[in-house]
């Protein structure tokens, strides 16, 4: 112990031994056959091109065209509240609501600035609040928090103000506030839709150029938006009304489009749109480069089956199960409960594939959970 450095060397030697022991023990895990399949080496430019130019913009344009027709009929009806005008307005409105389901996913980019989903389709509507606002002529749609507007409001005014068509016409005839309110709601949507469509024309270039995978990059935005939209379908359209989130006590009044009774049709359209988006199907129905192609080309498998096929199959089962529910949804949540729950469970299963499996194999973080911290 006379050597002054001896204790230090002993300590180091002990530490060395510890490292080696650790080294040996850590090699215990078996070397499974596994090749990661991230998309970083995969060129996603054609995919982004297909999404922006063949899917997003055409879908928005088609929605916009239909919306303009609806707006025209709406103005016509407000000026002259007759039954024929009401019927025409309703017809156009039903188509608009259906087409909304094809664009509800586009919450990113220009859609983000206008609170896309909340501005167009925040349901259930607070009906008593709306009636109060009509009475007091309060029409403040500029505040983003005021979501008692959009398509659910039209649903209420066109179908729910009274049990009979005469009653509805009477409301519009006797109180002009309903007409003014309806027009304001239509204008609010029209304005936002025009903004989004116009901004997409310029945003498209940026969208096509952001070929990375991180937060804010196009593929990341798309995958996250697809998931968010899909969860809305599952939760808002089927889950909440069915009572799975409320001890089985159903909420029939909380279905989408309660008064016009289109809930199931809208849900099916939404699922089909989500599927088409996954496939990369263009508006004209021809197949284009989509997430499906990415999953296939990176060879993503789940339990030996191609993940793309697993997801497509699950979309199809979901469509089938929703189709099996008797019209209308708000009646079926109580009378055809079994089918509703089945549909919900099938929809839930897809969340695992879309939100967990797909981003993982593509190495895309699901970022709509923000990270208020460092990591290590």
């Amino acid at each position: 112990m006379t050597h002054p450095h001896l204790p230090k060397y002993r300590l180091l030697a002990a530490f060395c031994v510890l490292t080696i022991v650790g080294f040996l023990t850590s090699c215990k895990d078996d070397n499974q056959k596994f090749t990661p399949s991230c998309i970083s080496e995969y060129d996603i430019s054609p995919l982004l091109l297909n999404y922006s130019d063949e899917i997003v913009i055409p879908r928005l344009e088609s929605f916009d065209n239909q919306f303009d027709k609806c707006l025209k009929q709406g103005v016509n009806f407000i000026d002259n509240p007759q039954l024929t005008n009401l019927t025409q307005f309703r017809e156009e409105y039903i188509v608009v609501y259906k087409l909304w389901q094809t664009v509800s996913t586009f919450t990113f980019g220009p859609g983000e600035d206008v609170f896309w989903v909340n501005s167009f389709n925040n349901f259930p509507l607070n009906e008593s609040r709306v009636l109060l606002d009509v009475q007091e002529s309060k029409m403040n749609f500029s505040s983003p928090e005021d979501y008692n507007k959009g398509l659910p409001l039209l649903d209420f005014f066109l179908y729910g103000l009274s049990a009979s068509d005469e009653g509805i016409l009477d409301s519009f005839k006797t109180n002009s506030a309903f007409g003014i309110y309806t027009k304001a709601v239509l204008d609010d949507m029209d304005k936002k839709l025009d903004d989004v469509l116009e901004n997409w024309q310029s945003y498209a270039n940026q969208f096509k150029q952001n070929t990375g995978t991180t937060d804010g990059q196009s593929i990341n935005l798309l995958v996250n938006a697809l998931n968010k939209d899909y969860e809305n379908i599952k939760r808002n359209k089927i889950g909440i009304p069915s009572g799975v989130l409320s001890l089985g006590f159903t909420n029939p009044r909380e279905v989408e489009s309660y008064h016009s009774g289109q809930s199931l049709e809208l849900a099916k359209t939404a699922i089909q749109s989500s599927k088409d988006l996954f496939l990369g199907t263009k508006l004209d129905g021809t197949d284009g480069e989509g997430l499906e192609e990415v999953l296939r080309s990176i060879g993503a498998n789940k339990n030996g089956i191609s993940l793309a096929d697993v997801i497509i199959n699950q979309y199809d089962i979901a469509l089938e199960k929703v189709d099996a529910i008797q019209e209308t949804l708000h009646e079926s949540v109580d009378e055809d409960k079994e089918n509703v729950i089945k549909a919900y469970n099938v929809l839930s299963e897809q969340v695992i594939y879309l939100k967990s499996d797909m981003p993982s194999v593509m190495c895309i973080p699901i970022t709509y959970v923000d990270n208020p911290s460092d990591s290590d």
Binding site: P36, E41, L307, P372, S373, D376
Partner: protein, 432 residues
């Protein structure tokens, strides 16, 4: 070892840089709005095993406490009321760590440990306001053990982090760096390289070699300067590439402690020839045995994961306090089902009504959090569900794989309790 004296100045440098880093990082934490997000917004806090009694203060106390902590860090830097200030800093810092286990970070745990070791030393006996105002007698030398214990602590961190990297995903598949590096393709000059798997392999192997060996290269006098340059380059690289907060700076500053007395003395323009005034430990035996126990724990804690069934990447058992740093890309989705045993009614829980998004994200990959949350939702809904059971549908993905079911969906989580055991309700235990 405890009798042999060394210059006090390596410790003084450590005190100043440690305090300074804590001062700036706490201000940064505040400015980022993280106090609100992590301590004020949540209505529920996840606990550490054994520290369930640590509760959140009323909101009004949070910011004043944080302010006192920042002030205390500053006092440590200038060496004013050094011991008291360091105790205050450590207590508040540790409190904020313990209050929500969601925020566990290895480097925050390291701050607690290094701060504690520093507290054992008389680092205010030179170049401090305590000396200047005559509150303590100045000293020029201290037992070298004081310096070695800090070095050893740093060595344990590196070595354990290195050993943890020696697994097939890291070494054979360059994971998770193969996932993380391509995210930086927009970096100037080097960004373009990151999409190539070869670069991920290079970084993985260099990283593992660095962690396993840097301690020895820092100890060896001849390699020390080069080792330190490597430390700076390595940690700056991790600073650029990853969102790891103060960790790089903590290591870059702390590693200066490996340098010689002369190196540190030059920083303060003092020579070794000045009048030696030695600081002597009064209860040598007690102090040495205390340190012995401390380091035994420090070696056992990181290695404890080896006695558990399955892989720590998956089960998370033995993850905390184990220096398993930046090791895995993992995420999960978890749905809780609250059931009434009597009425047979059940409902899915919307996690987001009880947790912040960040808490939900962390819970989805940490089984002990799920147990705590199960109890929380049963409690919160006790008026609706009087005879509760909680089941969970939980899936995780690890390092770019497809998902697997994590927790046994048929186990009522209310019947499970957190302990040192194997947590048999975890059904996914291995990577394959």
């Amino acid at each position: 070892m405890i009798s042999k004296q060394r210059s006090i100045y390596p410790l003084v440098t450590f005190r100043i840089l440690f305090g300074g880093l804590m001062f700036f990082s706490s201000i940064r934490f505040w400015m980022q709005g993280w106090i609100e997000k992590l301590y004020i917004q949540p209505t529920f806090f996840f606990k550490y095993y054994g520290f369930e009694w640590v509760d959140m203060y009323p909101q009004a106390f949070v910011k004043p406490l944080f302010f006192i902590m920042i002030l205390a860090a500053l006092f440590v830097v200038i060496g004013l009321l050094y011991r008291g200030a360091l105790v205050v800093f450590l207590c508040i810092f540790t409190y904020f760590e313990l209050v929500d286990a969601t925020n566990y970070l290895n480097h925050h745990y390291l701050v607690v440990l290094l701060g504690f070791l520093l507290l054992l030393t008389p680092a205010n006996r030179a170049f401090s306001l305590d000396v200047w105002r005559g509150a303590v007698k100045p000293k020029t030398t201290i037992p070298q053990l004081f310096i070695w214990m800090i070095m050893l602590q740093i060595g344990i961190v590196y070595t354990c982090a290195g050993i943890a990297k020696l697994n097939s995903d890291w070494v054979l598949h360059a994971l998770p760096l193969r996932i993380w590096l391509p995210e930086h393709q927009d970096l100037p000059i080097i960004g373009g390289l990151f999409k190539h798997a070869e670069i991920a392999y290079f970084f993985s192997w260099v990283g593992a070699f660095y962690d396993c060996t840097i301690f020895y290269f820092l100890c060896w006098k001849k390699s020390r300067p080069y080792a330190y340059i490597t430390v700076v380059v390595f940690h700056l690289m991790t600073y650029i590439l990853f969102n790891i907060g103060i960790f790089p700076w903590l290591m870059i500053t702390s590693n200066l402690i490996f340098f010689s007395d002369q190196f540190h003395q030059r920083l303060y323009k003092v020579s070794s020839n000045e009048n030696q005034q030695s600081f002597v430990v009064s209860h040598k035996k007690i102090f040495s045995s205390f340190l012995g126990i401390y380091f035994l724990i420090q070696i056992i804690l990181p290695l404890r994961h080896m006695v558990y069934a399955g892989s720590t990447y998956v089960t998370e058992i033995g993850y905390r306090f184990g220096w398993r740093v930046m090791l895995v890309e993992k995420s999960g989705i978890v749905t809780f089902i609250l059931k009434d045993k009597t009425t047979k009614r059940f409902m899915e829980i919307a996690n987001i009504e009880y947790l912040t998004p960040f808490q939900e994200k962390q819970m989805a990959i940490q089984p002990d959090f799920m147990l705590q949350f199960a109890r929380h939702i049963a409690h919160e809904n006790k008026d609706l569900v009087s005879d509760p059971q909680v089941y969970v549908n939980s899936f995780i993905t690890i390092n770019g794989r497809t998902s697997k079911r994590y927790i046994n969906p048929n186990v009522d989580l209310l019947t499970e309790s957190d302990d040192w055991g194997n947590k048999p309700f975890i059904i996914a235990r291995d990577l394959k």
